[in-house]
């Protein structure tokens, strides 16, 4: 069964550094998402992406964040200057735009900012 994959599984970075989290959505899916989960808290929506542009973003998704689909298969989340509070699990998801479809989640990238 096709899966959403994410790399790396874990990343440790210093405050102020840039990080890029990578996702490979399921190949025929059209919508892509990033969510995050701060340790012990609920999963929160960050951004959705369709037709090569952001379709919706949350108030969390400020100018520090950007998303890109650079090559037709990868979907990336960049955090320009990480803060301590960016430490979280980041989930990528993709959606096929089918009747009664669901979003498929990747396994997540655990980001730790020191």
């Amino acid at each position: 069964e096709p899966e959403v994959t994410q790399t790396p599984s874990h990343q440790v970075t210093q405050m102020g550094q840039e990080v890029i989290l990578r996702c490979v959505p399921i190949s025929n899916h059209l919508y892509f998402y990033w969510y995050r989960q701060i340790l012990g808290q609920k999963v929160e929506f960050l951004v959705s992406f369709y037709n090569n542009e952001i379709s919706e973003k949350s108030e969390i998704f400020d100018d520090q964040f950007s998303v890109e689909r650079p090559d037709g298969s990868n979907f990336t989340l960049k955090i320009r200057s990480t803060k301590l509070e960016d430490s979280a699990m980041y989930f990528c998801a993709s959606y096929p735009e089918e009747v009664r479809g669901t979003q498929y989640f990747g396994p997540g990238t655990r980001l730790l900012v020191l």
């Binding site: 919508y31 998402y33 969510y35 808290q41 609920k42 999963v43 929160e44 929506f45 959705s48 369709y50 919706e56 949350s58 989930f91 998801a93 959606y95 735009e97 009747v99 009664r100 479809g101 669901t102 979003q103 989640f105 990747g106 396994p107 997540g108």
Partner: protein, 116 residues
């Protein structure tokens, strides 16, 4: 504002006992409803979903959920839990209308522990 409430932060049940996890949503129309499970350090696995029709939906791992419009609830049930069911359970909604391409709104989760 649209929201999902899971009133129980942590529940402990004995292995073999029945389980019910509560979920209430706040939304003017009928949303699409989901239950996800997350084992420690793992990703999110879809247990079941409700879009319309039969209000009792069956999912994987022996779970079921019942949509009750009058109570704005979508409670998750299992007749007999197994030790492997210990995990965090998230109720979630999508508000996007016919297509579920819109963002998912998650509840705060219920942590399930199993007593041997």
């Amino acid at each position: 504002a649209q929201s999902v409430t899971q009133p129980d932060i942590h529940i402990t049940v004995s292995e073999g006992a029945s389980l019910e996890l509560r979920c209430n949503y706040s939304y003017g129309a009928t949303p699409y409803l989901f239950w996800y499970v997350q084992s420690p350090g793992q990703g999110l696995q879809l247990l079941l979903k409700y879009f319309s029709g039969d209000t009792l939906v069956q999912g994987i791992k022996g779970f079921e959920a019942e949509f009750k419009r009058s109570q704005s609830s979508f409670n998750l049930r299992k007749p007999s839990v197994h030790w492997s069911d210990a995990a965090e359970y998230f109720c979630a909604v999508v508000l996007g209308g016919y297509s579920s391409a819109s963002k998912i709104i998650f509840g705060s989760g219920t942590r399930l522990s199993i007593r041997p």
